[in-house]
Amino acid sequence: MTYLESLRRALHTILADDPRALLLGEDILDPYGGAFKVTQGLSTRFPDRVFTTPISEAAIVGVSVGLALRGWRPIAEIMFGDFVTLAADQLINHAAKYAAMYNGQVRVPLVVRTPMGGGRGYGPTHSQSLERLFFGIPHLTVLAPAHVHDAGALLLAAAAAEGPVLFVENKLLYPQPLLLGAGAGVLRRSERVDAYGYPVVRLANYAAREQPDVTIAAYGGMSRLLVEVLARLAAEEVRVLAVLPTCISPLDEAPLAAAAGESGRLLLVEESQAAFGWGAEVAARLLAAPVGAPGAQLRLARLGAQPTVIPAARELEDAVLVTAAAVEEALLALLRI
């Protein structure tokens, strides 16, 4: 099953199981079924609960907030993650505010799904990873499945959450088969949950009795690169432990710290620019550990996109975004220090 199929099935399950669940978004009706086809089949099966909308991202989220306040469980789709800027006010000043500012007397159980990421040559306004805007916003959860997670199960969890969730999908992962179960190809896969109850997956390219040489942490679309790099480095007998959380904000650093501690070296990779990104918070938490504690000994590096627009031309896009080659190079560099 692909990442996309898993998400689509989850939407079917959610709407089938919960009569209060609703879908809203642009072009989500059949036969089109959404720009990336994640909502296919749903309007046919649940015609009264799937709403195609005008091109009004602020209102899509704003209407969903109103529905959630009044007892429904809306799931909104923003066609491209780049357009969440238009819904930033509704997410930050409305969805994330009501429960706390009304002293806990209301809930806003809302999921905003959106695909982020580049690599498809869509150019500067259709390729970004703008979930970063919402990191650390109180009372807003940012979830992002990679293809080593049960993406659909995570969406079910998002839909069951009490508060608003920004659910970040990845365009290049849509066609990827999920890598689940104990054996994900040549890689050993294991799963645990973080303090918030969301899954964290570990992938190892070495035997169970061995120790990793280096650890790499990433989320979302970066899993595509990690799986490739781990497989390649296995051949070169570089033992790599990858750790992939699904709850990006708020951050539980413990599973990442544990994985990093096993090798003493951590590479943090993210698709957006590294500066002020996810890895910054992970690094700050892990490294600010008391001197003498294992964290303080960590050798750590970060990798992200170049700090500019994401070009449309393929070669330029590759030069700006993180590639598997860049990940491998950064890992090997980290091993040398």
Binding site: S56, A58, V65, G66, L69, R70, Y98, M101, Q105
Partner: protein, 323 residues
């Protein structure tokens, strides 16, 4: 208009007036902090519209100038006063304050325009639930500057939602007269989206001479028509009301022409309503309201200090552990 109704209108309007005047007083005595936007002069809009609603099931959204809507809706002067005084006995525990109120089916937020799509969502919620309830959203003339208001009008009309837009057109946004903010006639905007509209705003945005604010009886009558339309047709309606803010935008920040203000005070809808009633009745209602407001203030000021712990727990952090 029955006698009882007018008494009730007067009772509500004087309660709102006195509550908000008390807020100014509490500020000047240093007992209140933050900001406040009073609806002094605009009470008739709140009272006349809310009287036409079914308070058991209907839903109300409002924004920064919501005390009147709040009191007309739930009469909870105690919860409101305590909220503005920052007490944990406030309706939202002192967290929201003046601009962020919630009780039963009433919700306010201080971001201009942002509540409007929320109200659309609430209207869709009621329509889907088949509750028969309608949603009312109060907006000011200045708030029609926000794009999301038009996204919302479009959706409300497209999906035939039971949503009543009430425009309280007081011809100013903060310090800025409407003619420096808006082109065209405001009521033409909902009409362009196919929303049935009743324009009692009295003038287009460019008109200069002040006009009299609508009285509560005119507003109530119009609101009854509007509410009936929304409920019967399950379709949106836009009611544009001419009103005037007699007090500053918030506190002391008034740059309007004193002559204009004086003329508006001369047409104060509360005073006009008083002239229709027996002086003794008004005096009794005024006194009753004054007693309630004072009691609410006394109770709030006597309330124990903030329950930081309880708030922290609900908000998900511990006040005793640094981040």
């Amino acid at each position: 208009m029955t006698d009882t109704l007018e008494h009730s209108f007067y009772a509500q309007m004087t309660l709102i007036r006195q509550t908000e005047q008390a807020f100014f007083d509490l500020y000047s005595r240093g007992l209140m902090a933050g900001t406040v936007h009073t609806s002094i002069g605009q009470e008739a809009c709140a009272v006349g519209v809310v009287a036409a609603l079914d308070k058991q099931r209907d839903v109300i959204f409002s924004s920064h100038r919501a005390h009147g809507h709040y009191l007309a809706y739930c009469d909870d002067v105690e919860g409101l006063v305590a909220e503005l005084l920052g007490r944990h006995t406030g309706v939202v525990g002192g967290i929201g304050g003046t601009q962020h109120l919630h009780k039963h089916n009433l919700y306010t937020n201080g971001i201009q325009g942002g509540i409007v799509p929320n109200a659309v969502g609430a209207a869709l919620a009621e329509k889907l639930a088949g509750s028969g309830a309608i949603v009312t959203v109060f907006v000011g003339d200045g708030t029609l500057g926000q794009g999301v208001v038009y996204e919302s009008m479009n959706l409300a009309a497209l999906w035939a939602l039971p949503l009543l837009f009430v425009l309280e057109d007081n011809r100013y946004a903060q310090s800025t007269p409407s003619r420096l903010e808006h082109a065209g006639r405001l009521a033409d905007r909902p009409r362009a989206f196919g929303i049935a509209t009743l324009d009692l705003s009295g003038a287009d945005a460019a008109a200069q001479e002040p006009q009299q604010a609508l009285g509560v009886d005119e507003i109530y009558t119009a609101a009854c028509t509007a509410v009936a339309h929304v409920r019967t047709h399950t379709a949106p309606f836009f009611l544009a009301l001419r009103t005037y803010r007699l007090a500053p935008h918030s506190k002391g920040d008034d740059v309007r022409d004193p002559a204009e203000l004086a003329a508006a005070w001369a047409g104060d809808p509360l005073a006009r309503l008083a002239q229709q009633l027996a002086p003794a009745v008004c005096a009794a209602l005024d006194a009753a309201a004054a007693r309630r407001v004072q009691a609410a203030i006394d109770a709030a000021l006597a309330a124990p200090p903030q329950l930081i712990n309880a708030f922290a727990q609900r908000a998900g952090w511990s006040p005793w552990q640094p981040l």
